[in-house]
């Protein structure tokens, strides 16, 4: 029994040493490998989605936009083909920049705050573009459109965009009035007239991301006080005055 027991002891010692080594190796190696393999673009820019699904989403959006343009601006087949190519160009250009950003963020040390900040500075503009949609006025799509469509088609397109912006602002006005009702009671007629008053106030152009939410309050701040006094009683006006003063500084930002 004795030689067998010694052998068993020896084996156990070797086993223990090898397991400890395996543990150390696993921690060090996997840390290194994961750090190298981590795709920050997928985490930050795509919010966990795959590149293929984001690409497909963008292509579908372009397809949808084209379908709408065909219907509303009566595009010819030739115009549609050119625009389709332009949209594909925008998507390719975007993913080319994504690839550059991926290279710049490869092997990022997440413990190093400066490195994280620098990486984010690279990814952030892409996030903004992706969130806003790729086919804005700086896109190839927009440039090709302005050179391909005739004057009547362009006018029609501009009219459609203006209508869409107006609908967005109207939606914000409605939610603003609804939120105001959390602070002061409105009777049906007051609600209706307040919406009309706010809709009548115009703010310029498309808003930068985030500011659109304040369009309703900016319009409230722009309404002449006398107009509001015709609609609301003294106590209601206290709340409205408070809101108007509070949001007055926003008018300039929204009205750019």
């Amino acid at each position: 029994m004795k030689p067998f027991a010694r052998l068993n002891d020896q084996l156990l010692r070797w086993q223990t040493i090898s397991i400890v080594w395996a543990f150390v190796y696993t921690v060090v190696f996997t840390n290194f490998v994961f750090a190298q393999q981590q795709d920050w673009i997928q985490s930050w820019l795509f919010n966990g989605r795959t590149e293929a699904s984001v690409r497909l989403g963008l292509q579908n959006q372009a397809e949808q936009k084209l379908t709408q343009l065909k219907e509303q601006c009566c595009l010819t087949e030739e115009q549609a083909t050119k625009l389709k190519l332009a949209a594909a160009g925008d998507v390719n250009r975007f993913f080319h920049e994504v690839e550059q950003a991926r290279k710049a963020t490869k092997g990022l040390d997440q413990q190093n705050q400066n490195a994280v900040q620098e990486a984010w500075a690279v990814v952030s503009p892409l996030t903004t573009r992706l969130n806003a949609g790729l086919y804005d006025e700086k896109s190839l799509f927009a440039k090709v459109m302005s050179s391909t469509l005739d004057a009547a088609q362009i006018d029609e397109y501009k009219r459609l965009l203006a209508e869409q912006l107006e609908r967005r602002h109207h939606a914000v006005v409605l939610t603003t009035v609804s939120t105001i009702e959390d602070s002061l009671p409105l009777i049906a007629d007051q609600r209706k007239k307040l919406v009309e008053l706010l809709d009548a106030q115009k703010v310029k152009g498309s808003q930068q991301q985030g500011m659109e939410t304040y369009v309703g309050y900016a319009k409230l701040a722009k309404v002449p006080e006398a107009e509001l006094e015709k609609l609301f009683d003294k106590e209601q006006m206290k709340v409205l005055k408070y809101l108007r003063e509070r949001y007055a500084p926003i008018v300039q930002m929204v009205d750019r």
Binding site: A22, N60, Q68, T175, K234, E235
Partner: protein, 297 residues
Amino acid sequence: MLSPVMIRARWLFFQGLLLSSLFATKATYSQVPEPPQQVEAQQIKAQPVEAQPVEAQVAVQAVEVVGQVVVEEGFAVAEDAIQVFAMGVDGDPQASKLLSKVAVDNALVRRVCKLDAEQLKELDLMDAKWVKGKAAARKQAGNLAAGVLRVFAGPNLGGVQQDNPAEAASRVMTSYKTKLKEILKPEQFAVYEQNVKERDVFRCQANAECVVAVLEDRLSFNEDQRKELVKSLSEWSGIQKMQATLYFQNQSYIPNLPASALKALTPAQRKILDGMQKADFQFEMFNDGQEAIFIAQ
């Protein structure tokens, strides 16, 4: 020499160590750090109520009764029970939010129900003190151990559960409506209910318009689709609690919407919609929490 049991124990210990190290490493790298901008966005400044005016509406009568509500200078005017911007009820933001709801409805009742002097007096009793009393009621855990602990350690220990803000709001508003029903004549109460219903319908429509405006950016609707979508979304029960304007600020997200409300979409539009990221922004997340929340600007 080690016994077989010890040998097995050591085996298991090291195997466990190895496995846990693997999991720990994977867990570390699956937790992606938030990008700086998102971290900033999460630092929504939850200001203590004492530090910044809450848009709580406090009946002036409530100020007199409770005497502890700090009213922002210049807003305390005595004629009516509408809204002054207060600093909260005893520093209790949840009660302040509830008081706000009650005060607004009190003011609505005054405007639409043509109350007599007696009714006005009774309405005034639903003030900050009343709201605080209703909001303070908390549920107690029903288990035996908690009951025994309460006997020895007092009512605040042994399984007293903190109230859920949504439940507290529901309880206060249910009590409010019950009390209101006692105060008002049936026809007056019907007028009040009609006005509340109109307000709720308006909110649903406003949120539905917002959602459609957000979706329109990506999906390009025609006029009929737009109208049908607004109608079906405003009839959907989930729309009322939605903080819809936040989807303008967070354009990469759209709300989770039920298929029943999206019948107007074409298969191609559904495909795009299905591929978009979803997030639910609701009022409870921002306004009805334990603390009044202000976004740092």
